[in-house]
Symmetry: C2
């Protein structure tokens, strides 16, 4: 037996996968020859199916059922068989419409992206919020909340607002805080956070000699404010779509998945993987390396601002998923968000 697939085998594999994606039912040889474009007898198809099963692309739940794709089958399908169609204009409009409203700031936009992905794809939408370190410094502000607590409010170039509570060990005068604020805003605006951090460290070293107490505190404060939280944040929308999937009908299973979402950390990890990749990434089942998501697939794409990649967004669903329609949607959304972040706020 050949260990590569003839064109005919590929055609049949493709037909099976697409039929299974559409119906969630095991596909039999007869159905293939009748409704789908296979011009062979059921017997011949059966031979090919047996071969595909041997090679690990298909499996059958029991002897008298049809075949269903394995993970390997999906992977081959996504890598080799899938023809990604362009998004039709209507869908583009549907997506773009959501961002038309005025006065959408970045956080709202990302949430909207997640929601739109979810409703358009009928799966769960995911958007990773940009990490602090990938953003550009625009403005910082220190607000004194109590004698020992200062709230740092930090605005990035793209209008994302992050804030952080800082415990201080001396009672700073509001006037001093103002001075610090002014100094930082004057000298740091437009730099990336990494540059800002580097600069702070450099100037602090220098500062040792000069010993300007106030300036010193400015640096301490701002470096505290700009510490990157290790854990990124994910915006999840449309968890309820999972409840539509027949493969997750049993509650304990379902529950494990929803809990995984609530924890977020696993999703952060998975989305992080798409950060360096170009274009759309597909992670199928066990490729996630998390048993909780063994029968889920993620489709992700990175979005970027003026200065490179900011984060990733995508969709998660069962691994029986209409990849050919979802992939372009995710791709288009990522590009759209990138475009919006680029033209806005300059």
């Amino acid at each position: 037996m050949a260990n590569y697939l003839t064109e005919r085998s590929q055609k049949i594999l493709e037909a099976i996968i697409e039929e299974y994606i559409a119906t969630a039912q095991p596909v039999g040889s007869k159905a293939l020859t009748l409704n789908l474009g296979i011009k062979l007898s059921p017997a011949s198809v059966r031979n090919v199916m047996a071969e595909l099963e041997e090679l690990g692309y298909l499996t059958s739940p029991h002897t008298s059922a049809g075949r269903i794709p394995t993970e390997k089958g999906y992977r081959f399908y996504v890598d080799s068989l899938l023809r990604i169609s362009d998004l039709d204009v209507r869908q583009k409009d549907q997506i773009e419409l959501k961002y038309r409203q005025q006065g959408l700031q970045m956080a709202d936009m990302l949430r909207e992206a997640s929601r739109t992905l979810s409703t358009v794809c009928h799966y769960t939408g995911l958007v990773m919020v940009p990490r602090l370190k990938t953003t550009i410094f625009r403005h910082i502000e220190f607000v004194k909340l109590s004698p020992r607590q200062v709230l740092a409010v930090f605005v990035t170039q793209s209008g994302l607002v992050q804030n952080k509570l800082i415990d201080v060990d001396e009672d700073l005068h509001p006037r001093d805080l103002e001075k610090i604020t002014n100094y930082l805003n004057k000298s740091m605006t437009g730099l990336s956070i990494q540059e800002v951090r580097a600069r702070i460290i450099a100037e602090m070293a220098e500062e040792k000699a000069l010993f300007d107490h106030l300036l010193r505190r400015a640096f301490v404060l701002s470096s505290a404010a700009l510490v990157d939280e290790a854990t990124g944040d994910v915006i999840i929308e449309g968890t309820s779509h999972f409840l539509e999937q027949p493969e997750f009908a049993d509650l304990p299973h379902m529950k494990r998945i929803v809990q995984t979402f609530e924890q977020k950390s696993i999703l952060v990890d998975l989305l992080d993987r798409g950060l360096e990749a170009k274009g759309v990434q597909v992670i199928i089942g066990s490729e996630t390396a998390y048993s909780e998501l063994a029968d889920c697939s993620l489709i992700t794409a990175a979005y970027s601002g003026k200065r490179g990649t900011l984060g990733t967004l995508g969709v998660i669903g069962p691994y029986r998923m209409p990849y050919s329609t979802i992939i372009p949607i995710v791709d288009y959304t990522a590009n759209l968000i990138s475009r919006l972040l680029d033209t806005d706020n300059d």
Copy 2:
């Protein structure tokens, strides 16, 4: 037949409800006399049960099953029978522990509250974020994002950060923005938002005469920044607990509920109802007035800061719920949050 309940009837009703809450199974007359503290024969109990059914406190799924409480039954139970025990020390500790960490700002604290409610109660936790209008002005900042866009960042007394994108029709110079910022911070700090708004309107009227262009813009900007979004925000944690409830085993039903959560608006409405109320509120089933939540109960309590009620928090679950343990937890959490908001940040 009496239309009030004898003490014996009440005892039996109570026993049935508590048994049903514990097991989710219809309760029969035999079980009551055997395991629970009813010292009567099954036959007598049956008489009472028939009576309770006639009065609308109980119902039976079919003739040969036991009885289950109706909504009216639960309502009577909550109003008249329930003895709310104090929270035991261990649980208090378990809750309080979560807030021990340093540097928790308000938003984090509210999220933590929702999460803790969820894990301690094994239901879904809800926390309503304070409305802008109930908070006290501490600091405002305008950051120019583009020639026509200004980001207003607004910090409340308790350290909650809200931000809003404002479209402006003239290109403001950063120096002007700074002046505006300074002016507002000097004159408005410590006032409630309502006072701030009143003051702005008053000064704007006066301003017409004086016509200081800059000041005028300050007022326009800040009133735009302080417009209260009509829709409050709710922090929902632990949706997955819903999947544990046997009464929501069928997926379409479950899905409707989860979708209701995702929409949030209904939850906002329900939580709003608890704003003026003192102490813990229980909303059972159809009392929610939303058919989607016809078999859910909410237990809510208001939390407050230095100057009155800020918002509400609570728990939502099936209406078969151990009210006697949940109510004190919600109560305690609301008080705890109030205390933390009060002593912090002064």
